[in-house]
């Protein structure tokens, strides 16, 4: 738990609210400002206890409209108290300059409020760091032996390979190992669930929300990015996902190879049985044609079936030896540690700066939206002021007063 961050966020909110109290008339501010600040502080405390950063954001979204509305009411109220002075000033500006002043007043007010809201919300949003690991992935090559290394066979193009890889990385078969290894149920339970451990399904959902997968165009490189409020945790999770995915691919590769070896061994045993049978048949032919053990060539045309059978048997024995050699070679290959179909190009490192929220972008967007809304609101207000002024002039002209 990060207590200093909590305090900093709450203090920042309270300071901002105190600063915004300038929207009220001085007399109101002096009389009720401290009490309003204290109430806001109590609200902040409760909102934080309820939902931390999101609680504060919801509070601000309630408090800002309240502040705008009530400050306008108090300003009008204060103006009414100084009505005689206001009338004198207004008389100086009416009627020609009234729309212009109305536009400026509304424009500045709306712009300041929208900009303030965007700044407040941006600074209240929880900061998060990103860590990225980069992998080179190769598809599993299927061949007669069921899983030889990719270099042994020509690569085949699979348009769905990267998408399939992304789905596997986000699958419980990979992520559940990460959750168990890093004890995310317990750690995130402490952080987000009042100390009660989360269930794996919830943690998995949260983990997927913090996970971003990307590919480098025209390569077999993929990037696994993890976001977290804790920069070390982001890197740990990204690296754990890399390890878990690699383990999964190595396991799949080894299982395929083992299946291939088993298939070869079955074939070897079948061949052995049939070779024994063929040897027995050959021996009976030898006795039938009375062929001596030292003879190498056919002595009579009647004995030709024996020699044909013998050549066939020799060929089968040759293949049988090759099969035995292949099985031994595959068994040795499995025991040699290899990189397998996944190569880690770069492990994730803790980030130095938070990547979310993007403060300059948010504030710039706030300014752009603020200028747009302020222009629209100012123009409408100026138009109303102009029409009201026109009506008053016409009324004055008609009544002669």
């Amino acid at each position: 738990m990060s207590l200093p961050i909590d305090n900093k966020t709450l203090l920042r909110s309270q300071k901002t609210y105190k600063w915004l109290l300038v929207a009220y008339p001085k007399s109101h501010r002096e009389e009720y400002g401290p009490a309003m600040s204290q109430v806001f502080r109590d609200q902040c405390r409760d909102a934080w206890r309820e939902a931390r950063h999101w609680g504060l954001i919801r509070l601000w979204l309630r408090v800002l409209p309240d502040l705008i509305q009530s400050s306008i009411v108090e300003r009008f109220s204060a103006l009414n108290e100084r009505k005689s002075m206001f009338d004198k000033m207004a008389a100086l500006f009416r009627p020609r300059l009234a729309p212009l002043f109305t536009f400026l007043a509304v424009f500045v007010t709306v712009l300041v409020l929208v900009l303030t809201a965007s700044v407040v919300i941006t600074f209240l949003l929880p900061e998060s760091y990103a860590s990225t690991a980069r992998l080179k992935v190769e598809p599993e090559q299927e061949n007669l032996f069921g899983g030889a290394s990719p270099s042994e066979t020509a690569p085949t193009y699979d348009p769905y390979f990267i998408q399939t890889t992304f789905e596997i990385i986000q699958d419980p078969i990979v992520l559940s190992k990460v959750i168990n290894q890093l004890n995310l149920n317990g750690d995130w339970g402490k952080r987000y669930n009042g100390g009660v451990p989360l269930d794996t399904a919830t943690t998995m959902k949260m983990l997927k929300q913090r996970l971003s997968l990307d590919t480098i165009r025209n390569t077999r490189l993929i990037e696994i990015t993890v976001y977290s409020e804790d920069k070390n945790e982001a890197a740990q999770i990204a690296n754990a996902i890399v390890q878990s995915y690699r383990d999964y691919r190595v396991q799949v590769h080894n299982e395929a190879t083992a299946r291939g070896i088993q298939m070869l061994q079955n074939q070897y045993q079948q061949d052995e049985t049939s070779i024994r049978q063929a040897q027995a048949d050959l021996e009976s032919l030898r006795q039938q044609f009375k062929i001596g053990s030292g003879m190498t060539d056919p002595q009579s045309p009647q004995a030709q079936p024996y020699w044909d059978k013998k050549r066939e048997l020799e060929q089968r024995l040759e293949f049988h030896k090759l099969l035995a050699t292949k099985i031994e070679a595959e068994k040795i290959d499995v025991q040699i540690p290899t990189l397998g179909p996944v190569e880690v190009v770069r492990l994730a490192q803790p980030g130095n700066w938070p990547v979310r929220p993007n403060k300059p972008l948010n504030i710039t967007l706030g300014a752009i939206v603020g200028i747009f809304l302020a222009s629209v609101a100012g123009a409408i207000s100026a138009l109303i002021a102009f029409l009201v002024g026109e009506r008053n002039r016409n009324t004055t002209a008609a009544t002669g007063r």
């Binding site: 009720y32 009490a35 408090v63 309240d66 509305q69 009411v73």
Partner: protein
């Protein structure tokens, strides 16, 4: 303006914010945040006042003397000294009762026109 000169009926109808603040204080004196919480609870969070609306309302109620600031603290040892407590004045109590009666009358009328469920007798008991 003195309290004796105010006719409660002339202040009606009250705005929802004013009525709810007076209702909250009908249960005893309270500070600002306690009023806010009481209003939120009693309206099942349908009305959540901000500090601006709350103190604007308090200011107007003090001006017309429907409420007054209290110097006493329920338990000074447990409470923040800077908190300001408010309580209903006699006129404030009359006004909130009058407004409650007005609402009861409206409810009775609505029930008479079968716009609401429940018995007529319940509505006629008033506040």
């Amino acid at each position: 303006m003195t309290t004796n000169q105010i006719d409660p009926e002339k202040l009606l109808p009250l705005t929802p914010a004013v009525f709810h603040v007076l209702l909250a204080l009908a249960g005893g004196e309270r500070h600002g945040y306690a009023i806010m919480q009481e209003v939120a609870e009693s309206t099942e969070c349908r009305i959540k006042m901000g500090p601006g609306t709350l103190y604007g309302t308090i200011k107007r109620l003090l001006e017309v003397r429907l409420i007054e600031e209290s110097d006493e603290r329920p338990d000074p040892g447990l409470d923040d000294e800077r908190r300001r407590y408010y309580r209903l004045t006699g006129v404030g109590e009359q006004v909130v009762k009058a407004e409650a009666r007005r609402y009861a009358g409206i409810v009775k009328l609505a029930r008479g026109k079968r716009l609401l469920g429940g018995s007529l007798q319940a509505a006629s008991t008033g506040v």
